[in-house]
Amino acid sequence: MFAAFDNFPALLIWLPLIGGLISFFIKDERSVKAWAMLSSLLTLALFAVSLLYTDDKNYILNSVSYVWLPELGSSFSLLLDGMSRILCLLTAIAFPLIFASTYSNSYKKANAFYGLMLLTQCGLMGVFLSVDALVFYFFWELALIPAYFLASQWGGEKRVQAAFKFFIYTFAGSLFLLIGIIYVYLKTPEQSFSLVSFYNVQLSAPEQMWLFWMFFVAFAIKMPIFPFHTWQPDVYEQSPTAVTMVLSGIMVKMGLFAAIRWLLPIFPDAVKHYDNVVIGLAVVGMLYASCIALVQDDLKRLIAYSSIAHIGLMAASLFTINQLSMQGALIQMFNHGVNIIGLWIVVYLIEKQTGIRKISQLGGLAQKAPTLAILLVVIALANIALPLTNAFVGEFMMFAGLYKFSAWYAAAAGLSIILAAIYTLNMVKNVFYGNLNAITAGFKDIVLHERVVLVMIVVMIFIVGVYPEPMFNMIRSASELVIGKFIK
């Protein structure tokens, strides 16, 4: 199994895994931080190198299949294609950013913290890379376990309950997924878990209808879309911010990604049949979450609900089944990850200094921390998809696709754009503008490493926002493949 150090997908999994395991044994806090940082940077560097070998000639470098459970028809198969590439990119970029932004934070039992973080990275990479249903399910769960421990061990007062609810909720959902996977597996003529077999399996319409829900529930809980979302605000609120970043930046993308790779192409008939239900739920969820975000006083909860709204749009656009929104959603997954991590970093920086997250108790930070304010405004504007920021490209395409599906859904979903502007600007106004108060009077502007991280995020926001072409090139073939399943 460890003879696998000869291609990218395997390396992208092993590197964080080994890095994480080693972290557990580094007792010194400073060293373990440095090690985790180094490990995540190595992963990023590795990924960067892999981008040089994206052409078909190097297919062998980007796919791998080891014998694992031949008796079950499952093999340890990984594939780095366009779809997984964009999410691996997100995962690879996000972790160094997270580590860097929270570098000055000191965790009790730091070795366990960083070890679990890197294990989560490993799990996430696995989810995005695996092209074998059983392996996929494995990683799906494995990403969850360290996240559960992270969310329970470090964080707010009610963290244990919140994380537990999250865990049981998602675990229950994924069990349905397991049943669905097994059923499809039994239906494949060669009794195989491979993605190809799953794509080729012949399922009758009634089978597709219920299998669709088996898969969908698991993914919907993970995303989460209305009404499966109630675990999310609590967990985001209670988890340590670094973990929240992982959860909201990357982990929720698991659901979306899985829907593209494991749901849409396998059950095309059912997707066509239930598209209105799913999109309806997603759109209702967008408006609903946006409305709730309007009245949140806790920064973390506000961002949590905002995230639900954004994810809702992505989910809706996936089910419209057209190129435009599919590609938009893929790009937006990356962008949303970057933006929301940026938002969390800002929240983290504010909470670190003031100790509070209540919007009503903050104010006037722009006077004390103009740099932070400017960077936040850029990120916040990206969050509401202003043109020339990264999110605009994705959201524009998704809305365009959604409009093609149904103008009414697009119009209704569009209302969330307005609501997003309201709550985002409210937040900016109440936290950064206005006058100082006793809590915020002693606020200091951010220090260099924090600034570097945020600037990097802002730079990414603009690069993708102005020139998204490389992203399109990355995902084009993948989305065409999925859509191709629907063209009979």
Binding site: K165, I292, V295, L386, P387, E469
Partner: protein, 632 residues
């Protein structure tokens, strides 16, 4: 030269980046000068391009920079379009923009260095966005600028961010713009659905083959966007509040350029509107209604900038009337003249405010004529121009719109004229209360009254000159044949629309009569206003009746608050407290609770008594027997 078009927005962008990133280190003198110079550079380039465009037979050119969104089904290039319309707007934006930058260097002198740089950064960013808006060769690029100017408007209104009201005004402006933007976006999506592209050059030729219903839908949605950006009913209320920003900002953004984006956009899409069956009428009616509504409100306002703001709304309404009746050239003409005289008026107001130490209430002014001679003179020119007194520019442009309206329907004409009369009234009321009579402010203010520095007065003078002469670019047919240079210049842009419109059929005599009547009425109103308010004395009596209704702006803000904001907030609270907590999370937690409850209940089966255990076993056995033997 058109190859260098990309430089035009690039210069302000560089200005933005330099000022924005270097705001801590750059001295004030540098950031102000650099900010202005970048605009000047763009202005010069714009002139050069204009020179090229004005040559007879110039056809629109697309300059493709790179591909922005590129998928199998949709290809949106990042491309610019240079034609007569955009080059005209380039001139207005960079020209007026440059003057206002210069003006600002003096006006904002008191700001701290980094805020000063921030101001110019925002201003440059605004110009950049506005240039994108007019240069865009497709609706998406236009939309980028469209949202960009909204953002800059937000940033500049909230420039003094410590003040909560200013922030709220900024937010309101942004949100209302966003409502309009949603309409715009939906129109773009519809076009993508209909045509598979957003390029002007691809869509307009196909407009003729499009179903009228589709065209109506698209144009109405676009118009929703325009109402947001150009402050028309029902989305106009943000503009008066936007006066919270620094006055040069009001001049540039909220008078001369950004708010005319809606007119630009409709003028750009003129063929769609011409072909759409219902939309033009709606545009005209909304425009007219806005015009009257805003004008009536302006009569009772006492804040110098608020009056000008409502005046702007009113004038914009007239422009939409022009668009609605097909007088595209007239509308664009009025945009241009309005840019000059309204910028002039705002800058003049700024000069007054500057002199009065941020006093904006005209009831506390009066008699400034002698203290601020240049400001007074230029302001008066502005008033005459906006009132539509010949031969100042406002007369020509307004006349063209009104004549267009008359050709369409005399009713529109008369209502429009009524609005023009109101304009004359409130403008001269404003003028009289500010400059005539005796000074009503404090002694300290009076002591400090002085004419503004050259950086302020020179732009005033230049704009005053323009306000006087700009009208001659569009001399109507009745006065001299083929003297309407602007119409001639813009003809290629509106060619298709013109071809489909019925020819104007107003006899010259009618036109003379109407013109004469209107001018006469305006003069009467003017003198009435001057007389009435020339020696305004403060009265403490509260306004009553209709006047109260007007001074409270028809209570529109309150109605919005009650009809939209309150219910939305209530709904959100309901969602948050009831649906989220009790219903959805309640179900999730309830499942857990139910299992715990069942657990507690099921425990009782485990009674600890062997007898009952065996009893259950026996009963189960009996049941199993029954199922097995008799169950089939």
């Amino acid at each position: 030269m058109t190859k260098l078009t990309y430089l035009i927005p690039l210069f302000p962008l560089i200005g933005f980046l330099v000022n924005g990133l270097g705001r801590r280190v750059l001295p004030k003198s540098f950031s102000g000068a650099f900010g202005s110079l970048t605009i000047l550079a763009s202005f010069i380039l714009s002139i050069l391009i204009f020179m090229e465009v004005r040559v007879e037979g110039f056809t629109a050119q697309q300059i493709r920079l790179f591909s922005f969104i590129n998928t199998a089904s949709l290809n949106i290039p990042f491309a610019f379009q240079i034609d007569q319309l955009s080059s005209l707007f380039l001139l207005i934006i960079t020209g007026v923009g440059f003057l206002i930058h210069v003006y600002s260097t003096a006006y904002m002198k008191e700001e701290e260095s980094d805020h000063y740089a921030r101001y110019f950064a925002y201003l440059n960013l605004f110009v950049f966005s506005m240039l994108l808006l007019v240069l865009g060769a497709n609706y998406v690029i236009m939309f980028i600028g469209w949202e960009g100017v909204g953002l800059c408007s937000y940033l500049l209104i909230g420039y003094w961010f410590k003040n909560g009201d200013y922030n709220n005004a900024a937010k309101k402006a942004f949100v209302m713009n966003r409502i309009g933007d949603l309409g715009f976006l939906l129109a773009v999506f519809w076009m993508i659905g209909q045509y598979g592209t957003t390029n002007f050059s691809d869509i307009f030729p196909r407009a003729n083959d499009t179903a009228p219903a589709v065209l109506t839908g698209i144009t109405l949605l676009l118009f929703v966007g325009a109402t947001g950006k150009s402050a028309q009913i029902p989305l106009y209320t943000w503009l008066p509040d936007a006066m919270a920003g620094p006055t040069p900002v009001s001049a540039l953004i909220h008078a001369a350029t950004m708010v005319t984006a809606g007119i630009y956009m409709i003028a750009r899409s003129n063929i769609l509107y011409t072909l759409a069956p219902v939309t033009p009428s709606i545009v005209a009616i909304i425009g007219l209604a806005t015009s009257i509504l805003a004008a009536t409100i302006a009569i009772q306002q006492n804040d110098i900038k608020k009056v000008l703001a409502y005046s702007t709304v009113s004038q914009l309404g007239l422009m939409f009337l022009g668009l609605g009746v097909g007088a595209y050239t007239g509308a664009v003409f009025h945009v241009m003249t309005h840019a000059f005289f309204k910028a002039l008026l705002f800058l003049g107001a700024g000069s007054v405010i500057h002199a009065m130490h941020h006093e904006q209430d005209i009831r506390n002014m009066g008699g400034l004529k002698k203290h601020l001679p240049i400001t007074h003179l230029t302001f008066l020119i502005g008033c005459i121009a906006i009132a539509g007194i010949p031969p100042f520019s406002g007369f020509f442009s307004k006349d063209e719109i009104l004549m267009g309206a008359f050709a369409h329907s005399p009713v529109l004409y008369f209502i429009g004229t009524f609005s023009a009369l109101l304009t004359a009234f409130y403008m001269f009321r404003l003028y009289a209360m500010t400059f005539l009579g005796t000074f009503r402010g404090t002694h300290e203010q009076e002591h400090h009254l002085h004419e503004s520095p050259a950086a302020i007065t020179i732009p005033l003078v230049i704009l005053a000159l323009l306000a006087v002469v700009a009208g001659f670019l569009g001399i109507p047919e009745v006065f001299a044949k083929d003297a309407h240079w602007l119409q001639h210049f813009l003809a290629p842009v509106f060619a298709d629309s013109t071809a489909r419109q019925e020819a104007h059929a107003i006899s010259h005599s009618t036109e003379y009569a109407l013109m004469g009547g209107t001018v006469l009425a305006i003069l009467v109103i003017m003198f009435y206003a001057l007389k009435k308010f020339g020696n305004y004395a403060r009265s403490e009596e509260p306004v009553t009746g209709f006047a109260k209704l007007l001074s409270n702006k028809w209570y529109v803000d309150e109605i919005y608050e009650a009809v939209i904001n309150k219910p939305l907030k209530g709904l959100s609270v309901f969602f948050n407290n009831v649906i989220e907590r009790s219903a959805i999370d309640g179900i999730v937690n309830g499942t857990g609770k139910f299992i715990q409850y069942s657990s507690r209940q099921l425990r009782w089966l485990q009674s600890g008594q062997v007898g009952s255990y065996i009893l259950i076993m026996v009963v189960a056995t009996v049941v199993f027997f029954i199922i097995q033997i008799f169950g089939k």
